[in-house]
């Protein structure tokens, strides 16, 4: 018997699913090439979903629904809310770009976007290994199709192929790891697995063997070294609008499943997975930052920058349990969550500017395409500069506070190894500052190669300005978002 509460818990997902189908149908009757009715309907739906998730998150209740299959908690609802908003911004930025490239013909971008968001929501709410896996597959399958949306474009098709092969392998890893866990504990339920592992009755070797595969699968999805190979190629090859769709909202879902699987499910194995994350983090920081220096393609540079930023997130995740003590766990995981949310916010604005500068037949993805942007449009140059300074972690942009909270989580553990990691991360972010500054240099110090004025539709202009301003304003008053992340994580840990 499914109780009423269960339906309430998944209400946003139901709205999303129904509307995705409705919009797919509606689009059949839309004739305009820019798909305005579909676009507006999609944005309205997403707005409602974001609002619902936000209200649920405000309520702060934790509901287990459908026999523990899914959970609706404050952390999940906030992440879903942010992911939905991120998807809205992605669609706003991406529509003119997609329209110029004949990618809107069947309205698939909107429908697939909504289905990928549904996948993310399921991942975030999943409280069962299989549900999480199903959500993941829904997300990735939609993404594969989206990357391949420009059928006649060789690079995009190649990127889709690479993405598909590597993504399928990652899913395989994850599934294999999860099945090992199932074999060892006899349950797919995250809470039951936690209890079984914590009981100490289960053979450690089996668990760790499974854990290796779970972590590898998650590392693929996050895109951290040495499972990062797909990131640069897919980021560069995919149409920029789709790159943003992959680079933005899904990171929040990836963060959520890391928390669901590793923290909620396998916290008793923290000593083991923290070591693995440490290795991944060091590798990502090193390779991401060093490789980014050599890039001339902005999308590729941002891909390597993502790798290094994910390294930072992992640093936050690996500082939770110190000597078997979970006192600092809330601090550490909320710093990672804050990092992820602000990273997505900044990435959105950065790609927004790239999309804005792209015109029909011109991709604007080389760093040199940004030359003299300040003279062509001070506003957009300003937005991009704010994003670059934020990613580099320079105050007063929000990216600084993200780095600060992660470093604080590391240092407050008091472990020499952690402090050494913090110093290492800080030195790596110095290298990072170099290539972010180079973008600022190109925009502000170089002379423009074209005098074309930059023009954008009103919706793009408005959203981009707000997005850029948020990166700065959240830097001036970061307290609210930090407290929100902290509360969400504290609640998650309590249950």
């Amino acid at each position: 018997m499914i109780d009423k509460l269960s339906w309430i818990a998944v209400y946003p997902e139901i709205v999303l699913l129904v509307m995705a189908c409705v919009i797919a149908m509606t689009d059949l009757f839309v004739k305009s090439p820019s798909r305005t009715p579909t676009y507006i309907l999609t944005l309205l739906t997403l707005g409602v979903v974001a609002l619902l998730n936000g209200l649920y998150a405000q309520g702060g209740q934790t509901i287990y629904a459908f026999g523990n299959m899914v959970v609706s908690d404050s952390m999940g609802n906030w992440l879903k809310c942010f992911a939905t908003i991120a998807m809205m911004a992605t669609l706003v930025y991406g529509r003119p770009y997609a329209a110029d490239r004949d990618m809107l013909r069947g309205g698939e971008m909107f429908t697939l976007g909504m289905f990928s968001l549904l996948g993310m929501s399921v991942m975030i709410s999943g409280n069962n290994f299989l549900v999480i896996y199903l959500g993941l597959e829904l997300l990735t399958l939609s993404s594969y199709a989206l990357v391949a949306l420009r059928r006649d474009n060789a690079t995009a098709t190649e990127a889709a192929m690479k993405y598909f092969v590597l993504g399928a392998m990652a899913s395989g890893f994850l599934l294999y790891g999860l099945s090992m866990m199932y074999g060892a504990t006899g349950s797919l339920d995250v809470n039951a697995v936690f209890k079984a592992v914590a009981s100490g009755q289960i053979k450690h070797q089996v668990l760790v063997f499974g854990l290796v595969f779970v972590v590898a699968g998650l590392a693929f999805k996050l895109g951290v070294v040495p499972f990062h190979m797909w990131i640069p190629d897919v980021y560069q090859g995919a149409p920029t609008a789709v790159t943003l769709l992959i680079a933005g909202a899904p990171k929040l879902a990836a963060f959520a499943i890391v928390i669901r699987l590793l923290v909620e499910g396998l916290l008793p194995l923290a000593i083991d997975w923290q070591q693995m994350l440490a290795v991944l983090a060091v590798g990502s920081l090193l390779l991401g930052n060093l490789a980014a220096i050599a890039q001339t393609n902005l999308k590729r540079m941002l891909a390597f920058s993502t790798i290094s930023q994910m390294g930072f997130v992992l640093l936050g995740l690996m500082a939770g349990v110190v000597n078997g003590n979970t006192l600092s766990a809330a601090n550490a995981y909320s710093s990672a969550m804050f990092y992820m949310v602000t990273y997505v916010l900044t990435t959105l604005a950065g790609f927004g500017v790239i999309l804005l500068l792209a015109r029909e037949g011109f991709e604007s993805e080389e760093i040199s395409d940004f030359a003299g942007l300040n003279q062509r449009s001070p506003l957009y140059a300003g937005v991009m500069a704010v994003c670059m300074f934020s990613l580099a972690g320079i105050p007063p942009m929000v990216g600084f506070y993200a780095k600060l909270s992660v470093l604080q989580a590391l240092i407050s553990s008091g472990q020499t190894a952690h402090i050494a990691m913090a110093v290492f991360a800080v030195l790596m972010s110095l290298i990072g500052a170099f290539y972010y500054l180079r973008v600022v240099k190109v925009m502000y110090f170089d002379e423009p190669i074209t005098a074309t004025t930059v023009s954008a539709p009103l919706d793009v202009r408005a959203v981009l300005s707000v997005n850029g301003a948020l990166v700065l304003v959240l830097g001036l008053v970061p307290g609210g978002l930090m407290a929100l992340c902290a509360n969400a994580i504290v609640q998650m840990l309590k249950t």
Partner: protein, 491 residues
């Protein structure tokens, strides 16, 4: 809103308005708005001096409100005798710099003026912050406008200079960030400076902290041997940028030593004082000699800045009243004098577009009024009695003699180098017959330049003749600082 908040946010607000609304089509209005902004920002700092109580070492005009509650970071401002003058100095130099950029900057005027106004507000924030994280945010945020100023309006090699400036100083401050978080953890979750001053720390912890702070502040001062960024940056930066860099930005580092290194790690400071003194003395003597052989005027003044800042750090680390106060006076004096030196070079550069000493000669024949100013500032740079430059150097030497005769002797000898390189440059540029057609065609300074140099000349002269208002403000705070540093914090 308190006076300090007003001092910080007034220029920033004007700067933001300029960035948002300014267009090159109405550059004239932009300039006037910038000037109004700078003057208003200076005026709002004056009540600080007026209302400052001389008999207490406690923080005054304190403002405190929660900022980031999760990390217990407060928006906590206050000034004492050490920081008060720098607030006024920053706001004053900002006015001068806006006047200096009046005719010279013709493209993107609003961004130029906006950057300087915002930079000025941020630097005042550094001097007023008494919360560790707030200090760091202001300290780092100053890099952004300066990077843009150098990179957009700088000389031919500006990009190299802008990157060198940003990355060099960022490296130092990132290590300080780790130190700040370490202190936060050690003190049980507080970024409050007063709490940190009282916090007992082990010897190793103090040494590590001392060197983390050293990394940030020594680069900023800059001390020998991490001074190499300064000449490169000064050469490429626009005149206004050089003036602000030399006059204020270098002081952020020296100020950091007094506010962070010495009171937080007093035992380590005393233990490593020999190193600081050695580095300072090297800066004074060796860099003084290096300055002598420069062919580029800006480079020469840049090296002279390093030497003068060597006096400042020397004064700080001999731990006596007159030395520390002398260092502070020297900082303020150097703010006026080095600013004036760079602006003078700017006056010549705007006309001839060369910084080479060899391109000039006999300027006095065509620009007599300007040469009078230049001579006056050159004298101040050598430390002639009656100018601001003399007071600080004399106090530091006096302090050094008390500490150790030979140290004082060494520092005093170095004054000769200072006189040598400054006067030799003056001779080659200004005196003698007219060297070439460029010099022949020079026009003397106009009213705007006269005003800009005149303001600084008055300040230099006033401080040289009657330094009492400056030293009175400092005395109590310096005594308290020295008393605190003398106590051991080892646990």
């Amino acid at each position: 809103m308190g006076l300090l908040s007003l001092a910080i946010w007034t220029p920033i607000l004007f700067g933001v308005v300029l960035l948002a609304l300014g267009r090159d089509e109405h550059a004239g209005a932009v300039r006037w708005l910038a000037l109004v902004g700078a003057v208003v920002s200076f005026l709002v700092t004056l009540p600080l001096y007026d209302g400052f109580k001389l008999d207490t070492a406690a923080m005054q005009f304190v403002e405190k409100s929660a900022w980031i509650e999760r990390f217990n970071v407060n928006y906590h401002l206050g000034v004492d005798g050490i920081s008060l003058w720098f607030v006024l100095l920053t706001a004053f130099i900002n006015v001068v710099v806006v006047i200096a950029g009046w005719e010279v900057i013709t493209r993107r005027v609003n961004q130029y003026m906006g950057a300087f106004l915002i930079l000025s507000g941020l630097m005042i924030g550094v001097f007023c912050a008494i919360d560790g994280m707030l200090f760091y945010v202001f300290f780092e945020a100053t890099l952004i406008p300066m990077y843009l100023i150098i990179g957009i309006w700088g000389g031919p090699n500006k990009i190299y200079a802008a990157f060198k400036f940003f990355l060099y100083t960022l490296l130092g401050s990132l290590l300080m960030l780790v130190a700040l978080i370490f202190l936060y953890t050690k003190s049980g979750g507080s970024f409050d400076l007063a709490t940190w001053h009282k916090l007992p720390l082990s010897g190793t912890a103090q040494t590590l902290l001392f060197f983390s702070f050293f990394a940030a502040f020594a680069v900023k001062v800059p001390m020998w041997p991490v001074h190499t960024w300064l000449p490169d940056v000064h050469v490429e930066a626009p005149t206004g940028g050089s003036a602000v860099l030399a006059a204020i930005m270098l002081k952020l580092g020296a100020y950091g030593f007094l506010r962070f290194s010495m009171p937080i790690a007093p035992d380590a400071s005393r233990e490593w004082a020999w190193l600081m003194i050695a580095l300072s003395l090297t800066a004074v003597i060796y860099v003084g000699l290096v300055a002598m052989v420069q062919r580029d005027m800006k480079k020469l003044v840049a090296y002279s800045s390093v030497a003068h800042m060597g006096f400042v750090t020397l004064g700080f680390f001999i731990f006596n009243q007159i030395g520390v106060a002398g260092g502070l006076v020297q900082m303020i004096a150097h703010g006026f004098v080095s600013g004036a030196m760079f602006l003078s070079i700017g006056v010549l550069y705007d006309r001839v577009h060369s910084r080479e000493i060899a391109s000039y000669g006999g300027v006095v024949n065509t620009m007599p009024r300007f040469t009078a100013f230049a001579l006056f500032f050159a004298m101040a740079n050598c430390g002639l009695p009656g100018t601001a430059g003399f007071v600080g150097e004399w106090m530091v030497i006096l302090g050094a003699v008390r500490f150790n005769f030979w140290l004082g002797f060494g520092a005093a000898t170095a004054l000769i180098f200072g006189a040598a390189y400054t006067l030799w440059m003056f001779k080659r540029v200004y005196l003698g017959p007219v060297a070439n057609d460029h010099v022949k065609a020079l026009k003397d300074i106009n009213a705007r330049e006269f005003l800009m140099l005149g303001l600084l000349a008055v300040a230099v002269l006033y401080m040289g003749i009657y330094p009492k208002p400056f030293t009175d403000v400092m005395n109590v705070s310096v005594t308290e600082l020295l008393r605190h540093v003398a106590l051991s914090k080892l646990n």
